[in-house]
Assembly symmetry: C2
């Protein structure tokens, strides 16, 4: 193919917006292990899952054989308001690093929610609306997911009830306000609105809350209110499915210019962004058609892939959700207060865990001071203020580009630029003031939380 | 022309990025009155202006006859990182309003600085670099301009010294941090770094500062430090010239689909966004080729066009800058604390003032509670959180669209969506909590500040 000049932003047209999501589980020989009922340790049925999730979403969750799902036209209409998202050729960063490598960033921050979370939020809201529900409940920590869901619910005129970790609510009042502006109700958790919230408040009157508690409150609200279901922004296979739109667009944009990626890098919290970004590429690997170097990047403070155990665990600290087999640090693991709120989850999506286990995916853990230094380099070169989460991928992309400078290799590096850091400037301030530190969990702390894994030796499937 | 389906986002390609800025002053029969030296009341010379501004920028400032200026390739390269900016067809808003009108939004918020200010910041930084300067100084109130300039200076490796109104610095720590992340120094004003700052601190020890004082500090720093010049983000004709890229792209995008605008609406603070948006359209009007309804929207709390006087006035409260003939409320006018920080300027760009005086431009003043209600309607429909400034244009666009619902007219309405409101959520919180009010200056207050206008009856030009 003749070499065309690659623009700063490779943009697909609206007509090139993907029409189907890709479910890479269909191409996996070793399927992810099924979700288990936390009581019986038997695989979750569609009926049981549908008590908590919308029925169509429960169906998607359980389906590991259908490779493609049509994206409903209503969702595509919404996508068109901010998609296809740009694939940015980071010319200035390459220049700053003096690297022969070519760096491409799939930028998902160009929407008001500020991240890729919107891709799944709108899908989940759509299916809730289709099912005739009145509303949905969810929890949010850093606030990206809650913001995305609020936008999606405003679009479909659904009630949106967000339980926000109390301490986040106080530390990030702007995040709360943006959700309210979209019409969502935002309740600091623990609250007096639920039995579980009241119980926790009685035991720990001054608590600032936790994600686990907020999940429990959101689930209780969903199952005790007529016409409500609970929705979740990561970890689940349905979410990875919706996020495949990221990878499909990336693939199409690269194909336009005949670019074949060598390395694909994404930050990994619950795994939804990474899973979506690599989807079509790992599909080729699973089918034996191609090979890529896929790198998951996580913080050293919450190293589920690099230091966790591959085992069944609770998805939430409240232990009300199904059990999933995944790389986990233990549901009781309390990560140090790393500023990348979206990467503080104790486990990893079960499908990505299986890919990692089978060697399709590699992982690296990085320190947050190095991550913010990379973010600043990126920001000054490319004029985009990245989210701390995304900056984990930037850090490793820069490492790889510098390695290319040593070897002279002209590698194509693709990274998932999941969102913007407008609401993370407190973290940037700590970095700018030299007040940021790196907290690495001790082996003893990990052993302690891993010793609490549930015993599923009676599981039958 | 056959009607094509218009996409949600009309996007030009990089190749369609304008190659020239358009200077509509060249087509004005009644030229804007010249800037006057505040001491001698004689027109400012290139030499005098070049003491404060970069020489090339001073030249652009004085040139009211050259219709087009080539955009240097280095600036176009930077533009390509975020331009051409999208022209959004607000289908969902139209639907929500049940209007036959078609609403188009030229969205300038899709860059990290969050507003159109970057279009001129990069140009000013470029010319400073070309002149071999070490750095530039400026002031910032709300912070959009300071952020844009910091980004631009990081790109050209220029020192950037921002004087930020002390009270804004404290109220908007995030804005300060983003500038620091781009490597700028941000000094709360008044400071002890300048003679004027020290004098003010001595007289008013606890003052929170003012834009006027910050300008004076920035100008003093520029003229007393070797290799520095002062730069300004609005009001000046050079800034309106750079911002013409907005209108030129808008024009090109509409032309692609054969759309002829009927109404073009922009918020007006110092006038840079509005002037840039209407540039090619008012050019046609000035040349007698077409007619459009052009509407400037300002807050009732700072109504320079609708209630000001067309006269020579100081551009700054410190009275160190040249005098400009403009619609003004008096340089000592203290607007009520409206949340649209970018619209709190006492005057209006001299070229827009002349257009308004000559009837090419109309103006409306709107109340901020109505503005935030419009912002919320827009946000829920279109999924973009608008800046309070931009929301002034949205308010009037909605009014016009509702009028079309009455009359059945299928008008094409274009509005300048100048930026995002991520850093304005304190204002949204006040609105969401029902704590926002509308403060309209009394006739007496206006008379009082207008009575302080300088006497330029000895001016000779």
């Amino acid at each position: 193919m003749t070499k065309q000049k690659i623009p700063y932003q490779i943009r697909l047209t609206e007509d090139e917006l993907p029409t189907r999501w890709y479910n890479f589980r269909a191409d996996m020989k070793n399927k992810p292990a099924p979700l288990l009922d936390p009581q019986t340790h038997r695989p979750m049925t569609l009926e049981a899952l549908s008590q908590v999730f919308c029925t169509e979403l429960a169906r998607q969750e359980l389906d590991d054989t259908t490779p493609y799902f049509d994206i409903p036209e209503e969702i595509r209409q919404f996508y068109r308001m901010y998609r296809p998202s740009p694939l940015i050729r980071a010319y200035r960063l390459e220049q700053a690093l003096q690297t022969p490598a070519h760096i491409y960033c799939k930028f998902e921050g160009n929407n008001t929610s500020g991240s890729h979370k919107l891709n799944s939020a709108i899908a989940q809201a759509y299916y809730a609306k289709q099912q005739g529900l009145r509303g949905v409940t969810t929890e949010t920590g850093a606030g990206q997911w809650g913001t995305a869901l609020s936008m999606a619910c405003a679009y479909f005129d659904l009630d949106c009830r967000v339980f926000m970790v109390k301490v986040s609510c106080e530390q990030k009042p702007f995040r709360r306000e943006i959700m309210r502006t979209f019409g969502a109700s935002v309740t600091p958790s623990p609250s007096t609105e639920t039995a579980v919230g009241r119980a926790i408040l009685e035991r720990f009157p001054g608590t600032g809350g936790s994600l686990g508690c907020a999940i429990s409150e959101a689930v209780e609200t969903a199952v005790t209110n007529e016409g409500y279901r609970y929705v979740l922004g990561s970890v689940l296979s349905q979410v990875v499915l919706h996020q495949s739109v990221i990878g499909l667009e990336t693939r199409a944009a690269l194909d336009k210019y005949g670019v074949r990626p060598d390395i694909i890098i994404g930050c990994a919290g619950g795994g939804s962004n990474l899973g979506g970004l690599i989807a079509p590429f790992v599909g080729e690997m699973l089918r034996g058609e191609a090979n890529y170097q896929l790198i998951a990047v996580e913080p050293v403070s919450c190293p589920s892939l690099t230091r966790g155990r591959y085992a069944y665990d609770f998805c939430d600290t409240g232990k009300v959700c199904p059990l999933a087999k995944m790389y986990t640090l233990g549901s009781g693991f309390m990560p140090a207060p790393n500023h990348a709120g979206g990467l503080r989850y104790h486990g990893m999506s079960s499908s990505l865990s299986q890919l990692y286990h089978d060697g399709y995916l590699t992982a690296r853990a990085v320190e947050q001071t190095a991550v913010f230094a990379a973010a600043e380099t990126f920001c000054r070169a490319e004029g985009i203020l990245p989210a701390p989460e995304s900056s984990h991928a930037i850090k490793v992309a820069i490492d790889e580009a510098l390695r290319c400078r040593e070897t002279g290799e002209e590698k194509n590096i693709v990274l998932g630029l999941t969102g913007t850091g407008y609401f993370d400037l407190t973290a940037y301030a700590r970095f700018n003031n030299g007040e940021m530190s790196d907290l690495i969990p001790t082996d003893e702390a990990l052993e302690e939380s891993l010793s609490q894994l549930p015993d599923v030796s009676d599981a039958a499937f």
